[in-house]
Amino acid sequence: MFLRDLFKQGKFVITSEIGPPKGCEIEETLKEAEMIRGKVDAINVTDNQSSVMRFGSLATCHLLIEKGFDPVFQVVCRDRNRIALQSDILSAAGLGIKNLLLLTGDHPLLGDHPDAKPVFDLDSVSLIHVVKQLENGTDMMGNKLVGEPPKFCIGAVVSPCAEPLDPQLFKMEKKIKQGAEFFQTQAVYEPDKFAKFMDKVKSWNIPILVGIVILKSVGMAKYMNEKVAGVHVPDTLIEELKKDKEKTKSGQTGVEIAARLIKELKPLCQGVHLMPLGWTDKVPEILKLAEL
């Protein structure tokens, strides 16, 4: 299933993210996927997220397809040069992967291999350009591919609450021009800011999946405010997390906040992308509370 078909049908698209394990036992990750079977349209698999080395995104996507799920294959530019990126994208097509999410990726200095060589041979914009070339039957040097060319639905990312916002908008426009078909956003906690962003990108007429990260604790909210680019958790939400410590610890406060945000943001956009960061078991309840 190509995500573009769901957008065309006017469906409010739901995706959720899973992060492969730091090890070769993938069973737990597949169990996580089972928790949301039938409740989401696609499962997004991160690519060595936060520059922490893990089980691969491509292999996880393949295993998800075997189990009957629709994965979104995340591809970052940090770890592979243009040869490896094109090769993995051809492999993805060969394995039946239909949806891609193409992004720059965090710098290796942020992860558990800070001495690694930062590759960034392509960037998120040129990677989109290259995938379009592959879809047209050649590699990026114009060499012909054998047989039917691959076909994908190409997704990209944007940070709608970033300050300043202009740099994000400039790059978003460039990604659309190169062939991005939908956008997944950084975590949103400020509906007003998101509404302003949606207003600015309205004329581009491109589907947006709003990003939702479940707030697990006060510490997490404060950490994001201090460290995570483009994310601001307002004081009112931090107060709500502080109010009932037991409820927050059980995850219920985060679940309620996420559901409320989705309800509020739904009329503004074309779908939601959940980033539960290990709390996939909470996703069904969030969706239920959000009446999805």
Binding site: F120, V125, V157, A162, P167, F170, K174, Q178
Partner: protein, 200 residues
Amino acid sequence: MLITEIKPKEEFDIVLKDNLIIIICKGCKEIYLPVVDINNLINELKEKKIKFDTINVDYLCNHEYTKLRTINLKEKIDNADNILVFSCGVGVQVVSSYINKHVVAGCNTLYIHGFQGLTPFIINCEQCGQCFLNYTGGLCPITACSKSLLNGPCGGAKNGKCEIDPEKECGWEKIIDRLQKKNQIELLQIYQNPRKYSLK
């Protein structure tokens, strides 16, 4: 030793019109500048009766020195519409950093092995051989961005600072700021092909 070569003319022919200033950096002592190509271009401009001035300097890479040297030429520079610079990548970035005009690089700086010259300023040139300064307001994305991105910023900057170092400014936010000041923000929409590492 530094080696530069003249850029393909289509990269700077937009500024080859009246009210142009051409700045030529004659060195570091050991620079190789494409003098014949530059002279041919100057002769061509004369034949076409285009109004322009040339300024010959040395050590354009030295920010303070260049500023002092160009104080006398302030009026001339203020009256110009465009500035075409024949120098290494550092020289162009120095001029672009303090003259709020359309500053255009006329050269690519090629990579050679060993230590190169003296650049007594934080501006850096990696000698990539395919200078991008004409698209980025005269700020090098290869050296100013931690990921050397060519098509705009990643989403990692927080409060204008790079994700790898809270002290380091986001190179792309500076580039965008510069392009906005120079009224050239549309340049950002030009798609940049991946670098040619075969040039190194």
